[in-house]
């Protein structure tokens, strides 16, 4: 296992899905990785082969050199502990904190900002080298960029660190102690101190501290659900019953639960080498691709870079043509490229995602990885586990058959009051048998809880019966008091029935024999049957009815039990010594009463949720370890297989043709068995996934779950996987978004997942999808808003270069916009409500529907941004003109304007200006340009609220947005009017009239965009939509 662990560590990439893999890696590398993955899978399969279950006790004793009664000596145990290490699941190899931090600091978007910072620094260096007293703008810009990246990096690092801390707290919720025998003494030790060969004693309620080979057992049952997905407790004994160690009775697995009974076993594996540990290692060895949002951001960066470089190079050439020196031209080039970097966007995106993550956490979706917030929104296939996710993970009575009628029982989660009421005598008798011939009982001290919530002892079916009778008939405890049990034959798998004899204390003072068990076995005992309280002798008609009912209920995937009884003759008086071994009582010619069937019912919210997923274009596939019939039944009940679709088998039955002749296109639904899946090629699997809309995979192993996920991903789908068991964790890890269960989920699955459903409820996924889609839309709007102001920020510099006017907008003011006024409004768009029912849309196509597409850039840069720029220049020219510099005289003034020794520069009126005086005017203009951008950004914000609807349809209910508008305006006023700002930021107070220069343009933006949206709405698919809908 040492090896396996190392392999896991060798692929740390898998740990961080955020990391953007290098595009087009060398083919040889790819192959190697694939090979390695294969080896990992092989390894897991191979390692399950163990022989401890086949060994005799003596062989075991020698193998582990341990005395089977006294256990290890303390000394020996200590030695082994030192040799093998503690008995804990090593958490998936965690990247060191500083590496994580660096990834936050240098990944994706940050890289763009770093590049900007370095370029600025280079530009500053050039300026210093050739100019003694350069403007410090580039230096400031480079420092600010660095600070922004570092702060956002710290923030997202903090966010994710917090999520993983939540994980740790989950882990700590289960204190684990083990009872071991060492030197003949029983002692309680910490689980991590358990070593190979230790004798361990377990009892009901314990968590098994290591992989155990049982050496003695009494009524021991274990719940392997976290490992195999089977919710039913399985009995454990010392017998070797199956070649497969996973199926044999004499092995208990690490971290599964002992439900009842006691057992003693010898530890055959600890920590990472346990079956559980191996799956965990396989999981951590898996590589995970890029999250969709990371891909989107990469695409966005590419677009921005293209635009920036294009602009930069164009103006580089232009400025050379205009006669600027090389050096100046290069500085311009850098300046333009850097000006294109939206400094505040990284922070905005991070905050938006964080806000959504918080909102989702409130709705019981805890997101571990920030980027996973959006992934659920892009999901096109959900592979859902059955037990515990779709179902309630408890047995409950679903149907009854008596008096030749099938009765349905309320199986919803909130059972209150009676779930079943009937006045038939048969029902009373049936209820009595179910209550009396039943070994389950309520645990004490929970009278205040509703019956459905009470904890019980005994297996799931008996508990289900107990609760059902308690709820629908009468108190079982009272019933048992009145009819004390005098003899009993417990259920076992050979006789397949359970019998008990009770004494009727209150009534006839006679005994009654009651029996329940497998229906066909029960029927064999019976010669009469009960109909409306009357006994009739058995006839073929009833047998046929019985068969039909049995098949019907069985076909629903339910577990069916038969019930019968016999009133013993009065010769068996009170105190008769019944002997179940000698059978000194009659046990034939019983009276058949009816059938009760039980099921692990689907959660009430699931069918609706599945339906919503369906209408949202998400394919829901069930992947379960359970039997195909149960799986299919549940699939039908929750709508994974919808009412009017048929499987090939059903089509065959309807048309009376063999299954092989069914046209595969007629059968939209399919149930695939794990053993079938094993023999399929990946092409065949693809075929299945592509051709069937409704798919159920039953009896699947962890590897197969992984294969299914990979198959879906091959088809280009974005796959979400839900699961709770360790067996699900490889699939969880491989999925684009793994969703673990917060309550029933195992540690490993939670570690492997990107998201945790705190209430284990499938319906929460729908909320997640909705939030994910909403944030995608809102991020689009946010980016639209933020990018728009880039144009009024860049154009001043371009005009400065080309027309030689004084710089209309400086670096400091640009930063004030990007990192000051634009931030809150951009973030407020994350609170925007959806424009239409986003759950009626298909999931976005990750190849076509990009977060930032050309249309968005065209709208932001080419249209709205241009209007904003014009607004800014208008304000600029107004102020310049009012102060004496008419626009025409500004052209080409740059060289004189910037000359520090020229202190009598003439304006259009013949007035003469000192350098500082005109600089004050210039900075006043810059302040005004800044204020203008803020004002036109009002309109942009309102316009960005919607992409299709009118603002009048959408309303202005987003309070944060209104706050954002107020905040940015207030901030702008603050920056302009606060005394001292002229020294600190070179911002000057403005005359009130200058604030109004922007208003016509704000109105223009609003009207223009409303008209555009009107056209989009009125002519769907028209050229307006094609060219401008982003």
């Amino acid at each position: 296992m040492e090896l396996g662990w190392k392999k896991g560590a060798a692929a740390p990439q898998g740990q961080n899905p955020r990391q953007i893999p290098i595009k087009g890696p060398k083919p040889s590398k790819k192959k190697m990785k694939r090979k390695k993955k294969k080896r990992d899978t092989e390894e897991l399969k191979k390692e399950v082969v163990m022989d401890d279950h086949k060994l005799t006790l003596e062989e075991l004793s020698t193998k582990y050199s341990v005395n089977l009664t006294t256990g290890h000596s303390h000394q020996r145990a200590k030695e082994i502990l030192i040799r093998d290490g503690p008995n804990t699941l090593t958490p998936p190899p965690t990247t060191p904190e500083w590496v994580k931090f660096c990834k936050q600091l240098f990944g994706g978007f940050s890289l763009l900002l770093w590049t900007g910072a370095i370029l600025c620094f280079v530009a500053y260096g050039i300026q210093i080298y050739f100019n003694e007293e350069p403007a410090k703008d580039n230096l400031y810009l480079s420092i600010v960029l660095t600070v922004v990246v570092v702060i956002t990096g710290c923030f997202s690092y903090y966010q994710e660190a917090k999520s993983s801390k939540i994980m740790e707290s989950f882990k700590n919720m289960v204190p684990q102690q083990a009872l071991v025998i060492r030197e003949g003494e029983k002692m309680q030790i910490n689980v991590q101190d358990v070593v190979l060969g230790d004798l361990v004693e377990i009892k009901g309620g314990d968590r098994i501290p290591a992989d155990l080979r049982l050496i003695s057992a009494r009524g021991c049952k274990v719940d392997n659900s976290s490992l195999t997905g089977e919710s039913e407790p399985q009995s454990r004994s010392t017998d070797f019953t199956h070649e497969n160690p996973l199926e044999t009775r004499n092995i208990c697995f690490f971290s599964t639960n002992c439900v009842e009974g006691t057992a003693r076993g010898i530890v055959i594996a600890t920590g990472d080498s346990t079956v559980m540990g191996r799956i965990a290692s396989l999981t951590s060895g898996l590589e995970v691709g890029q999250t969709p949002i990371a891909a989107e951001i990469e695409h966005f960066i590419r677009l921005i870079t293209v635009v920036a470089v294009f602009l930069g190079v164009t103006f580089f050439v232009l400025s050379l043509l205009l006669g600027y020196g090389w050096l100046e031209a290069i500085i311009f080039l850098i300046g333009i490229i850097v000006a294109n970097v939206p400094e505040g966007l990284l922070a905005t995106v991070t905050v938006c995602l964080t806000l959504t993550a918080k909102r989702m956490a409130k709705k019981n979706c805890l997101v571990k990885n920030l980027e996973a917030v959006e992934t659920l929104g892009s999901t096109s296939i959900i592979c859902s586990d059955k037990t515990g996710t779709l179902t309630q993970n408890r047995m409950i009575v679903a149907h009854m058959w008596f008096d030749e009628t099938v009765y349905e029982v309320d199986t919803s989660e909130e059972q209150t009051g009676k779930t079943f009421a009937n006045n038939s005598d048969t029902w009373f008798i049936l209820a009595q048998i179910a209550g009396l011939c039943n070994r389950a009982d309520f645990k004490p001290n929970q009278e205040t809880l509703p019956i459905a919530k009470r904890a019980t002892t005994g297996d799931a079916s008996e508990s289900a019966l107990l609760k059902f009778i308690e709820q629908s008939y009468s108190s079982v405890a009272e019933m048992r008091k009145k009819n004390p049990k005098v003899a009993e034959i417990p259920f076992n798998s050979t006789n397949k029935y359970q019998m008990s004899i009770h004494f009727r204390e209150d009534g006839s003072q006679t005994h009654v024999l009651m029996m329940k068990g497998a229906p066909e076995r029960i029927l064999e005992f019976c010669s009469t049957f009960l109909l409306h309280g009357q006994e009739y002798s058995m006839d073929n008609e009833l047998k046929e009815d019985f068969q039909n009912a049995y098949l019907e209920l069985g076909g629903l995937g339910e577990r069916v039990l038969g019930f019968c009884f016999l009133n013993l003759p009065s010769s068996f008086s009170k105190g008769f010594p019944f002997n179940t071994d000698e059978m000194n009582f009659p046990m034939d010619n019983l009276c058949f009463v009816g059938l009760i069937s039980m099921i692990d019912p689907p959660r009430t919210t699931v069918p609706d949720a599945v339906n919503k997923c369906r209408s949202a274009g998400i394919k829901v596939i069930m992947v379960t370890g359970d039997h195909p019939i149960t799986a299919e039944a549940i699939a039908k009940r929750v709508g994974i297989i919808s009412e009017n679709t048929e499987t090939a088998e059903e089509v065959a039955a309807r048309l009376r043709i063999p299954v092989s002749k069914v046209n595969p296109r007629d059968a939209k639904a399919i149930v695939v068995h794990g053993s079938q899946l094993k023999d399929l090629h990946s092409e065949q699997l693809d075929q299945i996934l592509r051709n069937h809309t409704e798919i159920v995979f039953a009896r699947t192993s962890p590897q197969q779950k992984l294969i299914i996920v990979e198959g879906c991903q091959r088809l280009g789908a974005i796959v979400a996987v839900t699961g709770d068991g360790v067996n699900d964790s490889p699939a969880l890890k491989k999925a684009d978004i793994g969703i673990a269960m917060g309550i029933s989920g195992s540690d490993v699955s939670k570690q492997a997942a990107d998201m945790i459903l705190l209430d284990d409820n499938f319906a929460s996924i729908v909320t997640g999808v909705e939030e994910g889609r909403l944030i995608f839309d809102n991020l689009k709007k946010s980016i639209m808003y933020t990018l728009t102001s880039n144009i009024p920020e860049i154009t001043p510099f371009l005009v400065f270069i080309i027309l030689g006017v004084p710089l209309p907008l400086g670096t400091i003011t640009i930063l004030c916009i990007d990192l000051g006024t634009d931030m809150v409004p951009a973030i407020s768009l994350a609170y925007e409500s959806a424009e239409s029912d986003i759950m009626k849309r298909r999931p976005r196509n990750p190849k076509m529907d990009k977060l930032v597409n050309r249309r968005l850039i065209s709208m932001a840069y080419g249209q709205i941004g241009m209007i904003q720029a014009v607004a800014g220049f208008f304000t600029y020219f107004v102020i310049m003109a009012e102060n004496g510099f008419r626009p025409i005289d500004l052209l080409g003034i740059r060289l004189y304007w910037e000359d520090k020794f020229l202190n009598d520069l003439e304006d259009s009126y013949g007035q003469q200006w000192t350098y500082e005086q005109r600089k004050v005017v210039e900075f006043t203009c810059q302040t005004a340009f800044f204020v203008t951008i803020v004002l036109v950004q009002w309109a942009d914000l309102i316009v960005s609220k919607t992409r299709r609807n009118s603002v009048f349809q959408q309303g202005m209910r987003n309070k944060i947005l209104i706050f954002g508008i107020l905040e940015e305006t207030f901030l702008a006023a603050f920056l302009s009017y606060t005394p001292g700002m002229d020294v600190a930021l070179r911002m000057y107070p403005l005359k009130i009239s200058w604030w109004f220069c922007a208003l016509p343009y704000s109105i223009l933006i609003f009207v223009y965009d409303e008209i555009r949206k009107l056209l989009i709405r009125q002519r769907p698919g028209g050229w307006v939509e094609r060219e401008t809908y982003y």
Binding site: N903, D907, Y915
Partner: protein, 353 residues
């Protein structure tokens, strides 16, 4: 990749545009799919049978991919990401498949043409309104240009006057500069163009804004020894340099309370006695009130800025002497910290012998 594909079919497909949309804007379409059945239907269409078209496309796609891979294989054996990025970029700029610049159709160019044309109309309208509100004669605001700045002549992009008396080359350019500057002050010119208005009072010319205004004479000869008339070297040849000082023009500026603005120079830092004597021309060392107010260059065409000449007749030689010349008068500010040219000017004299 996909875009290319579609475009390849363009010639044979008259509705290729529409077709492309189907794929690119799935979202938009689905937006409209209110009925869930519709959505389901679509899902099926997408998943189940591959229509011939799609298969065709698949093939093409594969072809394309192969081609691309080949290209890459030849050009850049390792599949360089930069190479790919460059390709994408060049595709963005020039789409060879559709022969389209910036991968745009003519339609969008047309849209943009009209858009920018309208925008130009709007800005023109705005600018027009702006000019309606702005007088061509008097600036709307003058507070930024007040208080007046000060400038000296000769001016050669430096405020350090370094010259060696015995080497004319070191001061010749000052003389040329001064001579050039004073051409406009020639007595003949002034007499011809301007009026000789009474000294000691404002030369106020009432009347409409757009009426031409007369200007007062400021003759070169007012500067006496510094006029360059008697000493064509302005004293540089004798180590007694003349420096002319002028106050920046401001429309409507009047020295307050009828008190002319005076000029006074002294050593800025160091020994007061480094400058033993300065002579000012005109002797009052002030700017006469008759030169104010200024009515702006459109109507006050021949306005001649008054000057004060400082004749540094006895300055310590062979040593840099920092000189500060300040304006003095009511309403004059001469101690703004971050603007060293408002109401004062600082320069150094370093006269070598």
């Amino acid at each position: 990749m996909r875009r290319q594909l579609r475009s390849r079919r363009t010639p044979s497909f008259p509705y290729s545009y529409r077709y492309r949309l189907d794929d690119q804007d799935e979202l938009n379409q689905n937006y409209l799919a209110d009925e869930e059945e519709e959505a389901e239907e679509e899902a099926r269409v997408m998943v189940v049978p591959k229509s011939e078209e799609e298969e065709e496309e698949k093939e093409k796609e594969e072809e394309e991919e192969e081609k691309k891979e080949e290209e890459e294989g030849q050009g850049q054996p390792t599949g360089n990401t930069w190479w790919q990025k460059l390709q994408i970029m060049s595709e963005y700029l020039w789409d060879p498949e559709r022969r389209m610049f910036l991968a745009r159709t003519g339609l969008i160019l047309l849209i943009y043409f009209f858009f920018y044309a309208s925008l130009a109309a709007v800005i023109t309208l705005c600018m027009y309104t702006l000019f309606l509100t702005i007088s061509p004669y008097i600036p709307t605001f003058t507070e930024r240009v007040k208080p007046p700045g000060v400038m000296i002549r000769p001016f050669a992009h430096s405020l350090n006057f370094n010259f060696n008396v015995s080497e004319p080359d070191t001061w010749q350019h000052y003389v040329i500069s001064l001579n050039g500057f004073l051409q406009g002050y020639n007595d003949s010119l002034q007499e011809e163009m301007n009026v000789d208005c009474p000294p000691g009072q404002y030369f106020i010319q009432d009347g409409d804004e757009d009426e031409d205004k007369k200007a007062c004479q400021f003759k070169r000869s007012f500067l006496k020894n510094c006029s360059g008339l008697e000493d064509p070297t302005f004293g540089y040849s004798t180590g007694q340099p003349c420096i002319l000082l002028k106050m920046n023009r401001i429309v409507g500026f009047r020295p307050e309370l009828g008190d002319p603005v005076k000029v006074s120079c002294k050593v800025q830092r160091g020994d007061e006695n480094d400058i033993r004597s300065i002579r000012y021309y005109p002797e009052s060392a002030s700017f006469d009130l008759r030169y104010y107010p200024y009515y702006g260059k459109l109507t006050h065409v021949n306005y001649t800025s008054p000057l004060v000449a400082m004749h540094f007749t006895d300055v310590v030689k062979n040593q840099a002497v920092p000189v500060q010349c300040q304006l003095k008068g009511k309403g004059i500010i001469n101690d703004v910290i971050n603007d060293r040219f408002v109401g004062r000017v600082i320069f150094t004299l370093n006269i070598e012998t």
